[in-house]
Amino acid sequence: MDILFDIPVIGLLFQLVAYLVQILPSISPVIVALCTPIALGALCGFMNERSGVVNIGIEGMMLLSAFVGWTTAVVINTAVPDQEPIRELFGATPALVIGLVAALLTGLLSSTVHAWLSISVRADQIISGTIINIFAFGITGYLNLLISAASPQSAGSFTRYVPPAELTSLPFVGWLAKALLNQGPIVLAMLVMVVVMQILLFRSRWGLRTRAVGEHPKAAETVGIDVIKLRYRNVILGGLFAGLAGAWFTLEFGNSFQSGMTNGRGFIALAALIFGRWTPLGSFGAALLFISAEAIGIAVRFQPPTGQMADLGSILSGIPSQFWTALPYLVTIVVLAGVVGRSIAPAAVGKPYERESTG
């Protein structure tokens, strides 16, 4: 190893690889957890764009759901103190479960508004999404200020599943099992949904119809698919994913709400969707990539490379922390610039559909 590490310049590259391998087991659970809102947001975008609707409002939907879920849990906690968490069920309390449901309903409701504006009213879909973003930012900021003035109770948060030790201590794959399974219910649900949606898209009647509607709605209509209805259903159901992502922020990852806390995750989700070529698995991979960039920054701060890798350590710790935080956003731009030409969007995306008979 030493010999490789000591090669001028290229040696640094070997050090970097060795460092990444060294920190992977410890940062991989964080990466999987942090990529959850992006992967779920991408699933929401997937439901929209595969059926031909652009949704730039995922960010706002997440923010709104995060707020409503949190507020609901807080209100219930205040009304009914001392709820016993069910340890076997991710430490669920009635407040958490009802909060989660409220977040999901908020996702549904906000995506219904988007569906109505972009399918029935045929407003510009990007403007419709922007409206949701601005409104969500305003109303959550407004109400959060009023509620936090009353110094509210904690919402509590879901706890993580602890996989059996036999699994996590397996050689070579143990860390992977820990990264994927030692997670809260929303992260686990995300992992399941990514796989399920991938299968549904390519192996089900619904998937075939959705792809048809997203690529060539007129042709789909001629073979008897109700384009408007399918778009409505997909866009509205997509809101569930945004709602789940919102709940992750306030009921699983943290237990409080801050104004604008989604921090552009909903927009990064769109980039992940494009990078992942409009497939659930692909966008999950993209989400992992985006977050890894940030996670390396965190690792450098808490567990800098030392010993044989000291050269690398001095370089990495010389990089300002803001650079690492900015990295997912930078990667998003690079990915969009580099990949978009080869990644083809569903052909009918962004175009309102008008039936000829009603035209």
């Binding site: 407003a123 409206i131 601005i134 552009g264 731009i333 969009l336 995306v349 962004g350």
Partner: protein, 371 residues
């Protein structure tokens, strides 16, 4: 003429009125959190304070103009984008970077002559803002990366750049919190009142200048053509790529100017975390003003008045200033649902609606799939 004005203005005015009603309902429903009981008069008190704080005195009116100034410029930055079929959500980042550039150059020339410092700092804001618009423009033109996503990413990156630069290398060592040094001589001269700076005049001049560029120059004709119908524009020998890059750079210039004016005219320095909603507001301004410079001017005055009055609204009625964001989002909602509003209120004149639609209908095109 009157018929046309009525047709163009009716829907925006209705949208504003409906949004005020929705805002009142929200304030009423949230009144238990503010005054411990449902208070039907709270919305009226809030709106009264809003009007008093924005128009009630000479100082209030100056404050409205000061608040409207960045909104006019940033609104134009979003508006010219709309004309070319581009959705510039990056006004926020361009504004911030322009402000940072003005703070850096102004801070360096703080002890010199104002005749040098002011123009130099303003030019720096313009140049850096234009560059920050050029980047997504060039990315769109040459790689097809959609400007909606890239500009949003650049907005976040601008925040991190400022956090790094202002808290690090350019931190004012004498200050108690992370901020750049005071711009001193580069401060914008005052025209009237406590903070009625010359930027108000610059913004007022930018309106006819942009109008002339868009509606009287060849370049403006090409911008509007490429926005309305890129295929026709290409067929007519126009250069869509050049126009995309030019329009985004122009947008960045305007938003950067707004940021520079804000720093040089008001705060005098750039803090490490500069919180502003100008970028969001600019989108609302451009949409309400139907992407027309004159419409943008009036929309900016309206939202500027709301920002100026929101402080008094918070003090006198206890309504958080975020209410203004809620109102803006709601106004946009009713604007987008224009067809529905026309049906509700039985307004005819689909011609004007159709026209307005054509100006913004091109934004979703080419999403994600190359130029």
């Amino acid at each position: 003429m009157i018929e046309k004005a009525r047709s163009v203005l009716l829907v925006p005015v209705l949208a504003i009125l409906l949004a005020l009603v929705v805002g009142a309902v929200i304030m009423f429903l949230s009144s238990p959190l503010i005054v411990d009981e449902f208070d039907i008069w709270l919305p009226f008190e809030a709106y009264a304070a809003l009007i008093k704080g924005s128009l009630g005195s000479a100082n209030a009116i100056i404050q409205t103009l000061v608040e409207a100034t960045p909104l006019v410029l940033a609104g134009l930055a979003v508006g010219v984008g709309f004309k070319a079929g581009l959705f510039n959500i990056g006004a926020q980042g361009q504004f911030l970077m322009g402000g940072l550039a003005a703070a850096i150059v102004g801070g360096a020339l703080a002890t010199g002559s104002p005749w040098v410092a002011v123009p130099a700092a303003v030019l720096a804001a313009i140049a850096v803002g234009a560059l920050y618009g050029f980047i997504p423009g060039a990315l769109k033109a040459f790689t097809g990366a959609h400007e909606v996503v890239t500009t949003i990413m650049l907005n976040y990156i601008a925040i991190f750049i400022i956090a790094y630069v202002v808290a690090g290398p350019l931190r004012d060592p004498a200050a108690t919190f992370a901020r750049s040094v005071d711009v001193g001589a580069a401060s914008l001269p005052l025209l009237f009142g406590r903070n009625g700076h010359i930027g108000i005049l610059i913004a007022a001049l930018a309106v006819p200048a942009t109008w002339w560029l868009l509606y009287r120059s060849t370049l403006g004709f090409e911008i509007r053509t490429v926005g309305a119908n890129p295929d026709a524009a290409r067929y007519a020998g126009m250069r869509p790529r050049f126009l995309t890059v030019f329009t985004m750079s122009l947008a960045g210039l305007l938003a950067g100017l707004a940021g520079g004016i804000q720093i040089l005219g008001l705060s005098g320095f750039m803090p490490a975390s500069y919180s502003t909603t100008v970028g969001f507001d600019a989108i609302a301004v451009a949409l309400l003003g139907r992407a027309h410079p004159v419409g943008i001017l009036f929309a900016a005055l309206l939202f500027g008045a709301m920002r100026a009055g929101s402080g008094l609204m918070q003090i006198e009625a206890g309504i958080p200033v975020q209410m203004v964001d809620v109102l803006q989002g709601t106004i946009l909602f009713f604007l987008a649902a224009e067809i529905v509003i026309r049906r509700w209120f039985r307004i005819r004149g689909a011609g004007a609606a159709g026209e307005a639609k054509a100006e913004t209908a091109t934004i979703s095109r080419s999403y994600g799939s190359g130029a």
